[in-house]
Amino acid sequence: MTGPRWLAPLAALGGLLVLLPLAGLIARVEWTDLWSLVTSEASLTALGLSLRTSVVATVATLVLGVPLGFVLHGMRGPLRGLLRAVVLAPLVLPPVVGGLALLYAFGRRGLLGEELGGSVAFTTLAVVIAQTFVAMPFMVVSVESALAARSGRHEAIAGTLGASRTRVLTRVTLPALGPALATGAVLAFARALGEFGATLTFAGSLEGVTRTAPLEIYLVRETDPAAAAALSLVLVAVAIGVVALAYRPLRGAA
């Protein structure tokens, strides 16, 4: 569908709003030193930590977010709307607030502080928890809307063919959800990779332990702007690359 013509200048403005900052960033990059800046020890440590924690967090959103999507899809009535709002809250919550909330739950003096044998705060695990916390809604929304678009017919037929519920899930439903899972995973990974506020609040900024690439960028942005720009460029490239490769727009209502 093509909209009226007056949409075009607005669309151009919107595009510029995204493009200009990227252009500004790229203009700041010192291309001759790019390689040495990106491969400096601090940069590599931060990047490596970011990639590792983001991958683990993405797996966690799959393991936890997919079941949540199923449960939401299976619920009826006002309770469903309420639970959905709660589960999706990290999408709209300021990340700092999320980090504080995590601290009050899993920190030393938090709800589960003692049960967890001290504190998980300020560890690499805390980074993963913070990333999973903010990224999981993407997976839940993706799975729930994909399930809503299914008629359930294939599942019913699979039942008449003698398949158990687990078999129906693993052989019929999940393969059919493939594109939605990929979309959810890509969005979750990109969100985890960019996580800053909740990580800083809940996990701190210990080099090699919790200092992910965004934190490193923030740390060196004044002392070493060239390094910050180089590292930023890497994050931008990874984010755009991943989204371009695997993201397909969600179908159906969220």
Binding site: A156, I157, G159, T160, G162, V172, P175, A176
Partner: protein
Amino acid sequence: MTALEARVRVPARGVDATVEVAAGGTLVLLGPNGSGKSTVLEAVAGMVPGADVRVTLDGVDAPRAPRDRRIGLLSQDDALFPTMSVRDNVAFGPRSAGASRAAARAEADAWLARVGLDGLGDRRPGALSGGQARRVAIARALAAAPRVLLLDEPFAGLDVVVASEVRGLVAGLLAGVTAVVTTHDALDAYALADTVAVMDSGAVVEAGEAVEVLTRPRTRFAARMGGRVLVEGTMRGGALEIAAGVRVPVSGGPGAGVPAAVAAHPGAVALAWSEPPESRASGSAWVADAVRGLEPRGDVVRVHGALLAADVPVEVVGGIAAGTPAWFGVPRGLEAYALTAGAPAR
């Protein structure tokens, strides 16, 4: 082989029907679109939430969970799993029953050969023609070794040649399998049925041996589904009295005064607009009626009156409107049968 008996009530869809099939037999559920046939099948398979269904297999209540019920359903949309190869689709039942991957695949290939799709196992369902997809769905349903197989309009949506081929295939494969087949086509009933149940508006209006229901229908609806027109009346001597003074000579039939009927082919019923031809000469008994509706049926038009119907060439009905008086000529000497419930049919 398993005998099936099912009582299906789905108030939301206005369905309340009972179906019975003898072990190894084929019941054809004959009815127009929207008569509730598919709902009955899906409910028996355990796929309709909120349905009040009682299914007994060999007189024992069937388990509630579809996977334990082992009643297979061949649905109109085939519902092949798009993410699996054709072979894995067919192997799905055996694998679910615990067969090893290799055994299930060998069985799937054997079934694919049986339905004439040798060598197509590696294809994806999306790369199949309509007829091939239907064959895969048939193979998948049978490979699961169901106690009862339900086939929902198995030849719908296929072109004439392919439908004939698949009909022949199904007729062969259903030998010895307890099956229920829904259709709106009398041809399927003649080709497959041991018994026939005619459905109208969610209820079974007539059921019995296939030949009996198809050639000696007791309701006008069943007659129409079987491709006939029911001429009802009362026996008076060797004739069927349709209305006061209107008699059609018949052969056989019950004694005088008993309600009876003949089931004529609409193609054999003659039609005249003005005065009927001389009865004796034309070989038909003429009944005055009026046109109620015109039903296009390919190269003929079925002219429906209040009592009778006749198939005539299209050009005959040009400019004819409802209410036009018409004479229907019923062939003399059709076999009459009693309409009294429980009475012998001759």
